[in-house]
């Protein structure tokens, strides 16, 4: 050494050496701790990073009418999903969403969507979004990290409004649904039936989602890298598609009836009396189930709920109305069965009958002295007041029960109401005091403590048609189910049928005569307000006008169809009711469509109606699809494509 060493240098160097290797040891120990001691823990984390379970959505079963016409199918749609488990802040995402996608949502709406989702941290923000959002979100991956577009299958009802109440609608599974239905799924896009046969046959229609483990990168995008064949990737469970559902509906008949209503409010149900197969189910105003297949905007929902015509009401089973004169054949039948009346029993109608100091009116100034068949034919009130008085409420109640009046019919639709079959027992049960004999009289003409649903009344006429066998009314195709058999004598039945035939041939039901077919029917006019009594119903305001009924079956011998038509505030059943019934019967027996206008006068929307922007799901079922931009989707499936079969085996997002 040429220079004397700095005296301190060896010590300083030694200190540095110790320090140096201490750092090495520290690093090596830290690596040992992370890689060797906890390596398997971090390996699991890394595997969770690069694998993602992709739900293979099972298509919901299609709905078909009795002739194989498609009533509901599936279409491909894109939805906006928020994954709160991914990196980022929700508030930042909301503002980026407004800026980049021009889509506004507030924090409360996002939180609500998260709450509503059956999958923690995943929320469906909007459905039927433009496919262009896919590219936008990819292009702004940083800011929109929490968002992704998923492809799902949505319900599509090609007939639009028609038979909407029978088909029902679907909605996204809510956490409450999931709990109630015991569905354990990690998919926010599960749809369940909320009404109609969509609800009744939900389990059969639903199918089971499959899943596949995919390899994804940090953006959550699936990648196929042959060099990185990782354990646990590629395992696949195929989805089980929902089964298609055949309905008894005849969509042609349905169309004829829907059109015949021409804007009136009410119900019409046509049924095969020999099987209980429901051929048509009209509840006007109809709603468009396409509106619901997901997420209606809150305003659209409010419009439906607030609509004074109550489009959401499934009138054939949820509307309970006084049956009016359509009830008279029942009274006649009970009288005949009990031996209290016969075809030749005569009563005299002078237009009014004083019963214990109260005047009871006929709609006519006086029918004179008439027999039972004539009384049915002319719908004489006074005759049936006398008949009812003679029969008594207990017998009416007993037979009413046998025919299922005041009870649910058991139709395969949710939400059926039972109506009221008044009786002393019923009055006592509801704390309404004792039954006065004077209260039997209104019941005898289908008013008073008596309401029926249109379907119940149809069930009664159907039972008349079969001679006593009651079938459960069914929308879903399957073997007939006998509910009960009412023991009625052929003689009694013959008398009532004769009366009903005469109603059509020369009475109040002339409006539904069909050449070559003997139609049996009874019209009815149910008072809405007491004030209308004795006044010309057409002179009243629409809301105060009477309800118009017609119910019956045809042909008289070997009936093949039973029907009921009820038009709210329609006036006389013999007018508007008979016109609608006639349209249906003409179609069935003559193959004739009204005015021979065979094309659909109300063209059913095949694709969803256009909307200004994607809709935000609300707490209510919901949703109106937005516009369908004409650009190819990334997956190559044109937007709005209808899957005429049950859709692909699984839809990959």
């Amino acid at each position: 050494m040429n220079l004397p060493l700095d005296s301190g240098l060896p010590a300083k160097t030694a200190f540095l050496k110790v320090g140096l290797w201490t750092v090495f040891l520290l690093f090596a120990l830290r690596l040992f701790y992370l890689q060797v001691l906890h390596g398997d823990y971090y390996r699991t984390l890394s595997e969770n990073n690069y694998t993602r379970t992709i739900v293979l959505r099972s298509p919901r079963g299609m709905l078909l009418d009795r002739n194989g016409k498609v009533l509901c199918r599936n279409r491909v749609s894109f939805s906006l999903v928020l994954d709160a488990a991914r990196g980022g802040s929700i508030d930042d995402t909301i503002s980026a969403m407004r800026r980049i996608l021009d889509f506004s949502m507030d924090r409360a709406q996002v939180d609500a969507a998260l709450r509503r989702s059956p999958v923690a941290s995943l929320a469906v923000l909007a459905r039927d979004v433009p496919p262009s959002w896919l590219q936008k979100i990819e292009a702004h991956q940083q800011e929109l990290n929490m968002l992704r577009i998923e492809m799902e299958l949505r319900r599509d009802y090609p007939y639009g409004l028609y038979a909407g109440h029978a088909l029902g609608y679907v909605g996204l599974l809510s956490p409450e649904d999931a709990e109630r239905m015991k569905i354990k799924e990690s998919d926010p896009f599960i749809e369940v039936g909320k009404s109609g046969v969509e609800k009744t046959a939900n389990v059969r229609l639903m199918g089971v989602n499959g899943r596949r483990t995919a390899q994804v990168n940090s953006l959550g995008r699936e990648i196929e890298d042959p060099k990185l064949r990782l354990p646990g990737v590629g395992i696949q469970e195929d989805p089980v598609p929902g089964k298609p559902l055949n309905l008894n509906l005849d969509m042609d008949l349905q169309t004829v009836l829907e059109n015949a209503f021409a804007g009136e409010t009410g119900s019409a149900v046509f049924m095969n009396p020999n099987t209980g197969e429901i051929l048509a189910w009209v509840s006007e105003p109809e709603f468009n189930p396409n509106l619901f297949s997901g997420t209606v905007s809150a305003s659209a929902w409010k419009d439906l709920v607030d609509d004074p015509t109550r489009p959401l009401l499934n009138r054939p089973i949820q509307g309970a109305y006084p049956p009016g004169s359509t009830f008279k054949p029942f009274v006649a039948l009970v009288g005949l069965q009990e031996g209290l009346l016969s075809a030749s029993t005569m009563f005299t109608c002078g237009g009014v009958w004083d019963y214990g100091g109260h005047p009871f009116h006929c709609w006519s100034k006086g029918h004179g002295t008439i027999d039972l068949i004539t009384a049915i034919q002319n719908s004489c009130n006074i005759y049936f007041y006398h008949a009812g008085d003679r029969i008594g409420i207990e017998r009416l109640d007993k037979w009413g029960r046998l025919f299922g009046l005041g009870q649910k019919t058991g139709v395969d639709l949710p939400g059926e109401t039972s109506g009221v079959l008044g009786s002393p027992e019923w009055k006592a049960k509801h704390g309404l005091g004792p039954w006065y004999p004077g209260e039997t009289l209104p019941v005898s003409i289908g008013q008073g403590y008596l309401t029926v649903t249109p379907l119940q009344l149809l069930s009664f006429y159907s039972t008349l048609a079969t001679g006593g066998t009651r079938y459960r009314p069914r929308l879903i195709s399957g073997p007939p189910e006998v509910l009960s058999t009412v023991d009625v004598s052929p003689e009694a039945l013959g008398v009532v049928k004769e009366g009903l035939a005469r109603v059509v041939s020369s009475g109040t039901g002339k409006g539904c005569q069909i050449p070559g077919v003997e139609v049996c029917a009874k019209t009815g006019t149910a008072q809405v307000v007491q004030a209308s009594s004795g006044k010309n119903t057409y002179s009243l305001d629409k809301a105060e006008r009477d309800h118009a009924w017609i119910a019956g079956f045809a042909p008289r011998s070997n009936p093949t169809v039973a029907f009921v038509v009820m038009v709210e505030h329609g006036g006389h059943g013999g007018d508007v009711g008979a016109r609608i019934a006639k349209a249906g019967l003409e179609f069935l027996f003559l193959g004739k469509k009204p005015g021979e206008v065979i094309g659909p006068p109300k063209p059913p929307p095949v694709s969803p109606p256009p909307m200004a922007e994607p809709e935000i799901p609300t707490d209510l079922p919901p949703e109106v699809p937005p516009p369908l931009p004409e650009q190819p989707t990334p997956e190559g499936i044109p937007q709005g494509t209808i899957l005429d079969q049950n859709g692909p085996a699984g839809v990959r997002p």
Partner: protein
């Protein structure tokens, strides 16, 4: 020339050369693996090119006797200062700081070279001292020499790179006439002062992202989605490498983009993931053996300026390794400081290569007078 090579063959620092080449090759491979299949893949070729530049730089730094380097040090230093000033005006702006010169396809950060120039200038200053002892005055002058380019870098602003000048000030301090015990006392005092400054800084001039990094470091699992995401993913990369690694090109954290900046700041994460504990510790062993070699050279260096150069090389490289590896394995907060010879980047590679070359130079010329 021939005799120089012959002499070098005899006295040259072959261990350092060998370790350097190992690191260089490792860097070329790891940058390739870290960019494979991504849009950064072309950088692998470029890194290989920089490796050749680095070899040339190394040969120059080690073969030209360091007294010659020192002789021209003031000129180099002056040039660097001019360039640093120039870059502030004409430089290429990346992420808000003007620290790059771009010539065609090649970008260069002059502050990396300025570090070497500062070390050489410091050595030149020490050489010209008649008494060869670093006292208080000399220490402050050395500090000034280092601080000038450091401050210029800080104003670019490039805080991370600026801090890499600091180890040279510590080197000057360590080589001063103070004994070890006195130095340790100063170090203790500095630690106390540093803490005070930190606490004061927390409430005054720290930027929010800096605070967040510190908080994330202190509690990395608190927010694995937001601020802690990088730290968390880096830790998964390291841990999931386990003993033997997932294999080159097969690191899922790397290849599937979970690991942030895998070819630059977090390349050690790729190494840990793909080569496992064995590879990572082997790499650290190479680094620390190299640094240990520098300490050996420190003892045998023939003059004060040589010692200063070696200790600068030692402290600067150790600082890089400590901060970078410490960050990846979660021992220090996140900072943007590259891993020497492994991280992608030509300027840093060439700059640090010059340090290694000069350290080898000092050893090779330990007997020459």
């Amino acid at each position: 020339m021939k005799s120089t090579l012959k002499a070098y063959a005899g006295y040259g620092d072959h261990l350092t050369t060998l370790l350097f080449l190992v690191l260089l090759a490792g860097g070329a491979v790891m940058v390739r693996s870290a960019t494979f299949g991504t849009k950064f893949a072309p950088l692998a070729e470029r890194q290989t090119m920089w490796c050749f530049v680095a070899v040339v730089a190394y040969l120059l730094a080690t073969l030209v006797p360091y007294e010659v380097w020192i002789e021209y040090s003031y000129i180099l230093y002056g040039l660097c200062i001019v360039v640093l000033l120039g870059v502030m005006v004409f430089g290429h702006s990346v992420a808000g700081s003007r620290s790059w010169f771009v010539l065609g396809p090649v970008g260069f950060q002059p502050s990396e070279l300025a570090k070497v120039a500062a070390a050489l200038a410091g050595a030149g200053y020490v050489k010209d001292l008649s008494h060869k002892v670093i006292g208080v005055k000399e220490f402050f002058i050395l500090t000034g020499i280092v601080a000038l380019p450091m401050l210029l870098t800080l104003f670019q602003p490039d805080f991370g790179t600026a801090t890499t000048f600091l180890p040279m000030i510590l080197a000057a301090f360590y080589l001063s006439r103070m004994g070890l015990s006195k130095i340790l006392k100063w170090a203790a005092l500095a630690a106390v002062l540093g803490s005070v400054v930190f606490v004061l800084g927390w409430f005054t001039f720290f930027k929010p992202y800096q605070k967040e990094r510190v908080l994330t470091f202190l509690n990395p699992t608190a927010n694995t989605r937001g601020a802690g995401y990088q730290v968390h993913q880096a830790r998964i990369a390291v841990g999931s490498g386990e003993l033997a690694g997932k294999g080159l090109y097969s690191g899922t954290q790397n290849r599937l983009n979970f690991l942030p900046a895998p070819h630059t700041d977090f390349i050690f994460g790729v190494i840990c993931e793909e080569t496992g504990f064995i590879g990572a510790v082997a790499l650290l062993a190479v680094y620390f053996t190299l640094l240990g070699r520098f300490l050996g050279t420190l003892l045998v260096a023939r003059d004060m300026e040589g010692r200063f150069l070696v200790l600068c090389a030692f402290s600067v490289i150790l600082y890089h390794i400590f901060i970078n590896v410490g960050m990846v394995i979660g021992l220090v907060p996140t900072t943007g400081i590259p891993l020497p010879f492994l991280s992608y980047g030509g300027s840093s590679l060439v700059g640090l290569t010059l340090f290694v070359g000069l350290a080898a130079n000092v050893r090779a010329h330990r007997f020459v007078r």
